[in-house]
């Protein structure tokens, strides 16, 4: 018999406050919810059938951290997306609730509402609602393992003392709001609220010249230089080229091959992780992955889609070399010689000081308020000792 999850007592207060806030705002979804966007951020694109509201975001937070969203009630979204690690898990591959491994690492969820495509190399999953189905119901591998258990999930939620009221507050026009579709909508709404834009780099951009050390400032200049070229794939307000937002008129999906592998001498990647090639079958897509946001990158080791680069130093070495050399084993090959790698990965020479500067800049992308913000924290975790 599975142990029952801890009864969320502290969240009763949160619930009461939330409902009070919703009531004060006049309820009934008549006012549109305004996200508190970081300075310089555009409006994210929100699907018309899932407008944001405080109640929906809060419901999504509870569901995000609720282990009842796994079949065996041992894992939640928060198990592999931990706030203190900018919503990653520190592992090269994630481990699902039944012990199966994913092929790629858990992605950081900061600013997930701006991703043009979700996951590492999937050109079809373009909304958070679509993406949430994968860990919840997928079988290859099993992550949360709820495939076929939609009625069990709905029963679990209905039986909870708080969820019926929370679903009613989040979906006020629906007679029976506890549905799988609304679970997906609430989760997506919570993810859209995970805004991160208060790093030392951001404060420097806003005018605080003391926010970056001299070393980090020089590193920033290197990052945005034509010598090092990071900004080509990791630029813009989210330090990722793969973004979408309200004002966007062009599809900015981006997938790039950065020369990490070359197992067959002609640019091939290991069979378990061929990137976008897996979906398109186009040889030119071999090894192409989405360049994710570099925000909070110091917290989200290990790096690359398969966690094969353990440290930021190793990442800088990879790009300085122009590709990674795997000397032996099944994935042996020199990524630098890959004919398929992106044209911007041509390598560069950094002095010791420049290397330290670039590292200092990458470390200055950490937003401490984001990873400690109680609005994004686990409501089921034990309250701090008095």
């Amino acid at each position: 018999m599975q142990p029952t999850p801890p009864h969320p007592r502290a969240p009763w207060l949160t619930l009461a406050l939330t409902l009070a806030l919703v009531a004060l705002q006049g309820g009934c979804g008549s006012d549109s919810y305004e996200l508190d966007l970081p300075r310089g951020f555009p409006e994210p694109r929100v699907p018309a059938d899932n407008p944001l509201s405080e109640a929906k975001i809060e419901l999504g937070r509870f569901l995000f951290y609720d282990v009842r969203l796994s079949a065996n009630q041992t894992q939640s979204c928060g198990s592999c997306h931990r706030q203190e690690l900018a919503f990653t898990d520190g592992l090269p591959h994630a481990v699902g609730s039944t012990g199966e491994h994913t092929a790629r690492g858990s992605m950081a969820l900061g600013n997930a509402g701006y991703a043009a495509t979700l996951n590492w190399a999937n050109q079809a999953v373009v909304t958070l609602e679509m993406q949430a189905r994968i860990p919840l119901f997928g079988v290859e591998p099993v992550e949360l393992g709820l495939g076929g258990m939609e009625q069990v999930l709905e029963q679990r939620l209905r039986a909870d003392p708080s969820y019926p009221a929370m679903f009613a507050a989040a979906f006020p026009s629906e007679e029976d709001p506890i549905t799988v579709q609304n679970v997906l909508r609430a989760l997506a709404s919570f993810e859209r609220a995970l805004l991160t834009g208060d790093s030392p780099y951001d404060r420097y951009q806003a005018g605080d010249t003391t926010a970056l050390s001299d070393s980090a400032r020089r590193g920033m200049e290197l990052f945005f230089s034509e010598k090092v070229e990071c900004f080509h794939c990791h630029g813009g307000f989210n330090l990722s080229g793969s973004v979408d937002h309200e004002g966007n008129f062009f599809d900015q999906s981006l997938f790039a091959n950065n020369g990490l592998y070359n197992v067959d001498g002609i640019g091939g990647y290991p069979a378990a992780n061929t990137g976008l090639f897996e979906m398109t079958g186009d040889r030119l897509d071999m090894g192409r992955f989405k360049p994710p946001t570099l925000r909070n990158i110091a917290l989200t080791a290990p790096y690359m889609h398969d966690g094969s680069l353990a440290t930021l130093e190793a990442v800088i070495d990879h790009y300085a070399r122009g590709g990674t050399l795997t000397p032996e084993g099944p994935n042996a090959g020199d990524g630098r010689l890959s004919p398929l790698k992106n044209g911007f990965i041509s390598g560069f020479v950094l002095s010791e000081q420049e290397r330290a500067d670039l590292l200092a800049f990458l470390n200055a992308l950490t937003d401490e308020t984001f990873v400690t913000d109680p609005r994004f924290s686990d409501p089921f975790s034990a309250p701090p000792a008095p």
């Binding site: 694109r45 699907p47 059938d49 899932n50 043009a116 495509t117 999937n122 050109q123 079809a124 999953v125 373009v126 909304t127 609602e129 679509m130 993406q131 189905r133 994968i134 919840l136 119901f137 997928g138 079988v139 290859e140 709820l146 495939g147 076929g148 258990m149 939609e150 549905t179 799988v180 579709q181 997906l184 909508r185 979408d244 966007n248 008129f249 599809d251 900015q252 999906s253 069979a271 378990a272 061929t274 090639f277 897996e278 979906m279 398109t280 079958g281």
Partner: protein, 294 residues
């Protein structure tokens, strides 16, 4: 011809130019019916029977004599699929849409069929089975059936707005490839303990601005035409043995899913697709042989 007769003709018909023979079939209906919708209709129930060659399929039971060697064993624990665009064919060769009733198993012209009761020994999925497609059509003399296996494009890629059963069965979600599983068979062979055949659209591309999929390079829907049918007496056979007749059930290409999950790059899929009349890799589309008149 008079405009109102033309309208009657077009309402139940697919895109075919009017022909004299079809017109003569409808003329008596047009005279009998009042102005518009009152032509008599008949209820139609199409029954499906899943088989393993000459034997009726039973989930959780091992069946032998299968596969490319003709002596392999396969146990299928879950077997279900979606069908849409069901049409009846008259003796004259004209098509009439079978309008599906709305219920837990049918929605917006899509029908869900399920051959496995999870309460039976060794079976998975859900306890419900569904072996029929129920609808109505104008009264007529029908000798055949056509349908498309799979989900139509629009419903395949609609997301949160689609909540009606049978489109909310999470086991049939195919979230990684963004859509639904058109056919889902799960089981085990002697050599492959977790064997799966999942058919769905691949190579799909999404548009972040539209918030959904815009096209798929391999839609993987296929048409079935069954002529010479007595709709009242005959059923439609779904022969799983035929689907795997050229497949080596006891092995699979390393680093690909065990069985076939429609990967365009997965060489194991070619023989399954060929049996369904679908193209795969460099193998062209053929004629499907898995659905036949029973």
């Amino acid at each position: 011809m008079p405009r109102w007769v033309w309208r009657r003709y077009v309402v139940g018909m697919k895109t075919r130019p009017p022909r004299l023979i079809g017109l003569s079939l409808l003329a008596p209906l047009a005279l009998v019916g009042a102005c518009g919708d009152a032509a008599p209709r008949q209820d139609v129930s199409l029954t499906f029977r899943a088989t393993m060659g000459s034997e009726t399929f039973a989930c959780g039971q091992p069946f032998t004599g299968l596969g490319v060697t003709g002596d392999q064993t396969l146990t299928v624990r879950d077997a279900r699929l979606y069908v849409h665009d069901v049409r009846l064919v008259t003796a004259a060769g004209d098509e009439v849409a079978l309008e599906l009733g709305e219920n837990a198993f049918q929605h917006q012209g899509i029908a869900y069929l399920d051959f496995a009761d999870s309460n039976d020994t060794g079976c998975e999925g859900n306890p419900e089975t569904r072996l029929v497609i129920e609808g109505s059509a104008p009264e007529g003399d029908y000798v055949g059936v056509r349908f498309t296996v799979g989900m139509p494009f629009e419903q395949n890629h609609q997301e949160a707005s689609v909540a009606a059963s049978p489109l909310n069965i999470t086991d049939m979600f195919w979230a990684w490839q963004s859509g639904y599983k058109f056919i889902k068979l799960d089981g085990a062979s002697t050599g492959v303990p977790t064997w799966r055949f999942h058919l769905g659209s691949t190579g799909c591309v999404g548009d972040p601005m539209a918030g959904g999929v815009t096209s798929c390079t391999a839609p993987n829907r296929f048409d079935v035409e069954l002529m010479g049918m007595d709709l009242a007496a005959d059923s439609i056979r779904f022969d799983i043995a035929e689907l795997v007749s050229d497949v080596d059930l006891d092995t699979f290409t390393p680093e690909t899913p065990p069985g076939c999950m429609s990967g365009a790059m997965d060489p194991d899929c070619t023989e399954y697709f060929e049996a369904l009349g679908l193209p795969h890799a460099s193998s062209p589309a053929g004629v499907q042989r898995v659905f036949t008149v029973d």
